[in-house]
């Protein structure tokens, strides 16, 4: 079944749980990896998708990111930022993927729709929302809004992750939501 989580609000307890998972993963515990995955899968997938704009690549990155976590957990240093760590791994993989392609793969709408159609959980509304996300926003806007909605990271953490100044993130976030709202209304 679909795992639902609410990460919109900062929750130090959630960070502690993620850190605990990483420590256990470093000890070779696959259940801990499954646990971390269950808690963070939408965030990792959403962020990857927001960078590569391609469902196929995003799925590969989702796979590779947790594999890299498995191998890299031993070097993680508890700093209260497990999500930022995981997302940095995701971002690096996604950017490498873009470099491999040499450019941003244009989104082929049919592929995207076919892929979504594979998943029975995806509703008509979901489809419209993802379409709006992928077509109406600029790259940074899409990444910022996805991070904010899915990861529980604060604007400042998003700024640090993306290497952007905080005011840029704030203004892009607010513009992105407006655009998304508009695109949603038009699609609806």
């Amino acid at each position: 079944m679909i795992f639902c989580m609410s990460v919109a609000e900062p929750d130090p307890g959630a960070d502690a749980a993620l850190e605990d998972c990483i420590v256990r993963i470093a000890g070779g515990d696959q259940n801990a990896l499954a646990d971390l995955y269950g808690r963070t899968r939408p965030a990792v997938y959403g962020f990857a998708l927001s960078i590569v704009k391609n469902a196929h690549d995003a799925e590969d990155i989702l796979h590779d990111a947790y594999l890299q976590v498995w191998n890299a957990a031993g070097g993680y240093r508890a700093q209260g930022k497990p999500m930022a760590w995981l997302l940095t791994i995701t971002r690096n993989l996604a950017i490498s993927r873009l470099r491999e392609h040499g450019r941003t793969e244009p989104l082929v709408q049919e592929d995207w729709q076919d892929r979504l159609a594979d998943s029975p959980a995806v509703t008509h509304e979901d489809r419209l929302m993802l379409q709006a996300l992928l077509s109406a926003l600029g790259d940074e806007e899409r990444q910022i809004v996805t991070l904010h909605a899915l990861t529980g990271l604060r604007h400042r953490e998003i700024a640090a992750l993306l290497g952007l100044p905080l005011p840029t993130v704030l203004s892009k976030y607010s513009r992105a939501l407006k655009k998304l709202q508009l695109a949603w209304k038009e699609a609806d």
Partner: protein, 494 residues
């Protein structure tokens, strides 16, 4: 649909769309390779007794007699072994682990080689001699103790074996020289790209590969800034930034003895800024290189401003300082302890925001207040509410209830009753809107989707005004204090 609902819908859509490859992931989980810089504990295993450095040197300098064996005929290059400390060199090695040739890439490597002729010596002997010479010449010491070993061989298993073997050998030499060294090792594959970079910067292909992997993960680092650094310095930078490596294995820890502590760098920055540590949030300290100089990069937020310092890692001197944004009236008081014991409480924070906005709670259609955390520390109260078609966002001081930041945004079309700016020194949204419309030569009744937002941008406070006339979108930035038009753009919608 408000912003919260929009985000919720986005969240749901991604949750539904995200595939579930957990089984595949778990099936791919092999033995953990521990592929992270840095690794803490040095490996214990020692296959060879430590060789005395002097003995190794003597062995080599005495000439080829020791090296001549029945393997001599085997001149085919099987592996390439590269060593980087700051001296950078490579050796071509036969399948029988005899050195066929040595190439120095920089002047430091030429100094190390001196008049040693390593051709046709056993690889172990050559490595012993080279490390010994680096110790003697001060390239390896308590202050700079890291070496990078890169192996290139078409057979991955053979590469891995040689990599391990060399790591052990070098650790033995370190031990013989009473040095707690760090050995980074990797297997590399040459490429035209790496060769070109190596040649350009006078480093081995191995070091080029390491740098390329690092900069791929951290866009603030550049190849040119890392190439001249020693492996010790590169290891410290990657360690402080928690960069992970898929390929590099490390034993031992890179030395920080040449540098002041991160704590001392932090103090230097805070003293320069005249701010006490309890007043700052999201403090980050990382090693960086500025024009070849090792610095601590210290970043933090305080009083709504972002501070950025480069502190000379050897001397503690402030090399660079900058401050961006903020300077707002609010001061963050109190200590940022985790306890909420002395916070004013959500009700009081909400009341402070409503009072500032001149809005009664009963008139809000959406009202939310929470404690904003950054880096695990409580930072301020965030209060958001909607009254009519205006959305308000506030940051309220945890202890004093002071308004640290306020933003409002009015949705809706023409004629909507926009509240005039309550901040006395600003021209107000209505005036900003008029200024933009009049600049565009558009009457309010012809414009649709008018949006006015008070924003801070690079320390300037301005109104962002957007509206549409037909398919044309107009975007303006209006100085909030003077009403001057800072930016005007128009764009035809697709």
């Amino acid at each position: 649909m408000d912003e919260r609902e929009l985000e919720q819908r986005l969240r749901t859509a991604v949750e539904h769309a995200a595939p579930d490859p957990l089984d595949r992931i778990l099936a791919s989980c092999g033995p953990q390779t521990g592929t992270v810089l840095p690794f803490e504990a040095p490996k214990k295993k020692r296959r060879w007794a430590p060789l005395a450095v002097a003995a190794a040197l003597a062995l080599v300098i005495c000439g080829g007699a020791f090296g001549i064996t029945s393997w001599r005929g085997a001149n085919a290059v099987d592996s390439v072994v590269m060593l980087d400390v700051n001296p950078s060199l490579s050796m071509e090695v036969s399948a029988q682990e005899r050195v066929l040739s040595v190439t120095p890439f920089n002047q430091d490597a030429e100094i190390i080689l001196g008049d040693m002729d390593l051709t046709d010596t056993d690889l172990d002997v050559a490595v012993n001699a080279l490390i010994g010479s680096m110790l003697q010449n001060g390239y390896l010491s308590d202050l700079q103790n890291a070496i990078l070993v890169s192996v290139e061989n078409q057979d991955a298993a053979r590469s891995a074996q040689l990599q391990q073997h060399l790591t052990d050998t070098i650790n033995s030499v370190f031990q013989g020289g009473s040095l707690e060294g760090a050995v980074l090792s990797q297997t590399v594959t040459e490429s035209a790209d790496l060769n070109a970079l190596a040649q350009q910067y006078g480093i081995s292909v191995g070091k080029a590969a390491l740098i390329q992997e690092i900069i791929a993960q951290d866009s603030t680092l550049s190849f040119a800034s890392l190439a001249p650094l020693s492996v010790n310095e590169i290891a410290l930078i990657t360690e402080s930034r928690h960069l992970t490596s898929q390929t590099v294995t490390q034993t031992g820890t890179a030395s920080t003895k040449a540098y002041i502590t991160a704590e001392a760098a932090k103090s230097a920055a805070l003293t320069h800024a005249g701010i006490s540590e309890s007043d700052v949030a999201q403090l980050e300290i990382e090693f960086d290189s500025e024009d070849g100089l090792m610095v601590y990069e210290v970043e933090f937020y305080a009083g709504g401003s972002e501070y950025d310092y480069d502190i000379d890692a050897r001397t503690g001197e402030v090399v660079k300082s900058s401050r961006e944004g903020g300077g707002s009236a609010g001061t963050s008081g109190g200590t940022a302890s985790g306890s909420s014991g002395s916070y004013i409480g959500e009700a009081a924070a909400t009341a402070a925001a409503l009072q500032h906005a001149g809005v009664r709670q009963a008139d809000t259609t959406y009202l939310r207040c929470w404690v904003e955390h950054d880096d695990g520390r409580a930072e301020c109260y965030e209060v958001e509410f909607l009254a009519g078609s205006t959305e308000y966002q506030y940051e309220i001081d945890l202890y004093t209830g002071a308004v640290l930041k306020s933003e409002r945004e009015t949705y809706g079309t023409s004629g909507g009753g926009t509240a005039s700016g309550s901040s006395g020194s600003y021209i107000g949204e209505a005036a900003a809107r008029s200024a933009a419309l009049s600049h565009a030569g558009v009457s309010e009744s012809d414009a649709s989707r008018i949006q006015v937002e008070l924003d801070r941008d690079d320390g300037r406070t301005l109104y962002e005004v957007e509206f549409h006339v037909g398919r044309t979108e107009y975007s303006y930035e209006i100085d909030a204090a003077s009403g001057a038009i800072l930016k005007a753009e128009q764009e035809i919608d697709d």
